[in-house]
């Protein structure tokens, strides 16, 4: 088991964003983490890499307890997070972005070749200032930058957000191909349909808790998934009808 999270609680100030979540990711898997906005998915990822200090619970990566370590240690644990909103270094060139991504990788030039092979578009634009790339290219750059560190575990936070449909497809195809490269992926997404297509298993989060877990194929038809997004109401919900 590559990643194991037990009873993780974390949040900001008095806001408890993750309320005792447990999950695991096995080596070689692609695992989806679904849920509506504000469900606590991003906070969970942040806690995994140390951007957010967990309040309690434990995080084990490859069997080693990592919670409480500063965020820059995650790379040495072979874990890299591709944060939400890309967060590329906008004023630096594509090449520089990648090189910084391989900060701890002594073979960074070789690794860059591999990334370029994977994303030929980045090679074409390697001298360009990253901020001028299109949204999809920026997302590729962000993933490429993460791969520069040769992670075992890749954490992706909403890679499809704000992308054109064609681009979304491409990004997901890329995620699917990660498997071949031997990278384990934990994918946080709002796009449930696409996620469940590429993932092996998935978890559904609601208000900081994991409410559902299962194989991707089963979940694709589970009513809870749609409820989590579109708020289809259960019969027993206490609210009265509001229509006039």
């Amino acid at each position: 088991m590559l990643l194991q999270v037990k009873n993780l609680r974390c949040g900001y100030g008095s806001l408890e964003a993750v309320r005792g979540a447990s999950l695991h990711v096995c080596t070689g898997e692609i695992v989806g983490l679904l849920g509506a906005n504000g469900a606590g998915k991003t906070s969970l990822l942040k806690a995994l890499v140390g951007l957010l200090l967990p309040w309690s619970g434990e995080v084990r990566i490859a069997g080693r307890e990592t919670s409480g370590q500063p965020a820059w240690r995650c790379v040495s644990n072979s874990t890299v997070l591709v944060p939400e909103g890309k967060m590329i270094f906008a004023e630096m060139s594509v090449r520089e972005n990648l090189l910084v991504g391989g900060y701890h990788n002594p073979d960074r030039r070789m690794q860059m070749e591999l990334v370029f092979e994977r994303f030929p578009r980045l090679r074409e634009r390697q001298g360009q200032v990253a901020g001028t790339l299109s949204g999809g290219e920026q997302q590729m750059l962000a993933i490429g930058r993460a791969l520069m560190a040769r992670p075992m575990l890749l954490l992706l936070d909403e890679p499809s957000m704000g992308l054109a449909p064609l681009m979304v497809k491409e990004v997901f195809a890329e995620i699917f191909r990660m498997k071949d490269a031997g990278v384990t992926v934990l994918l946080v997404e709002q796009n449930a349909t696409a996620t469940l297509k590429v993932a092996d298993r998935a978890y559904v989060m609601e208000t900081g808790e994991i409410v559902l877990e299962g194989d991707a194929g089963d979940l694709a038809h589970h009513p809870l998934v749609k409820r989590a997004y579109l708020g289809q109401r259960d019969e027993d919900d206490s609210g009265q009808p509001r229509q006039k």
Binding site: T193, T207, R242
Partner: protein, 259 residues
């Protein structure tokens, strides 16, 4: 009658078009929801309406007068009050004082009156205190009045912020994701509270991600996507709108069975 009306509002940041020609109406006494995926431009639209951002183009009409380009405090005085996505309580005041800030636009003592504690100011202060306590009681937190705002739980902060917004005696209340960060029971309480606010005759505009809440409360729903309005209608209409479902779940719709 439309209390709030926007016409082809447009706002861009640098090259990014955040709100692209949005026109919508909020009817008096109704709960209108504004939904859409992340980055759809809901909060920007909110900020345009409440004056925190000036629109590039388009107009905002409130109570049949144009409030385009007004400053937030002028708009607040006109009767439009709002809450924020992250409850922005004033951390160094206690809960009651926070709500009393909301009474600012309903009072008028100045520096001199306050410094000298003139009788009129004292009476006004009493009124402010009483009214604020009433609002706190309305949201059910009167017992927390003397607590420092920074010591509250997240859910309590939301409620206090709501009380503060209500203290301005608004005709219209804009709530920016009031349910985010709340747990299930807190959400239910919030929903009840919103109903009670509406009963007081306050028109409500709601931005929310929690769909059960939106669908349960709203009289009408406006859906934004990439800064543009893509649908408008009753909750039932919206839930069955293909475009909306596609925007929300992504990919091919038929793969996800209806609940």
């Amino acid at each position: 009658m439309a209390l709030l009306e926007t016409e082809t509002l447009r706002k861009s940041f640098g090259g990014l078009l955040a709100v692209d020609g949005v026109s919508f109406k909020v009817e008096v006494g109704q709960i209108t929801s504004l939904i859409g995926p992340n980055g759809a431009g809901k909060t920007t639209l909110f900020n345009l309406v409440t004056g925190l951002l000036p629109p590039d183009r388009g107009t905002v009409r409130f109570k049949d007068q144009s409030v385009t380009g007004w400053k937030p405090h002028q708009i607040a005085r006109a009767g439009m009050s709002r809450t924020f996505q992250n409850p922005s309580l004033f951390g160094r005041m206690n809960v009651l004082e926070n709500v009393m800030v909301g009474r600012h636009c309903c009072s008028d003592s100045g520096f001199w009156g306050c410094a000298l504690r003139l009788p009129s100011q004292k009476r006004e202060e009493q009124r402010i205190r009483a009214a604020s306590l009433e609002e706190l009681d309305f949201v059910g937190l009167a017992y927390l009045a003397s607590f420092p705002a920074s010591a509250l739980t997240f859910g309590q902060r939301r409620m206090v912020e709501l009380a503060r917004a209500l203290a301005t005696e608004p005709e219209m209340l804009l709530l920016d994701e009031p349910a985010s960060g709340l747990n299930t029971s807190e959400k239910r309480e919030l929903g009840d509270l919103i109903i009670r606010v509406r009963k007081r005759g306050v028109t409500i505009l709601l931005v929310e991600h929690d769909m059960s809440m939106v669908m349960g409360l709203s009289d009408s729903v406006v859906v934004l996507h990439n800064g543009a309005k893509i649908a408008e209608g009753t909750p039932v209409e919206i839930q069955n709108d293909e475009k909306v479902v596609r925007v929300y779940l992504g990919g091919e719709v038929e793969n996800v069975a209806a609940g």
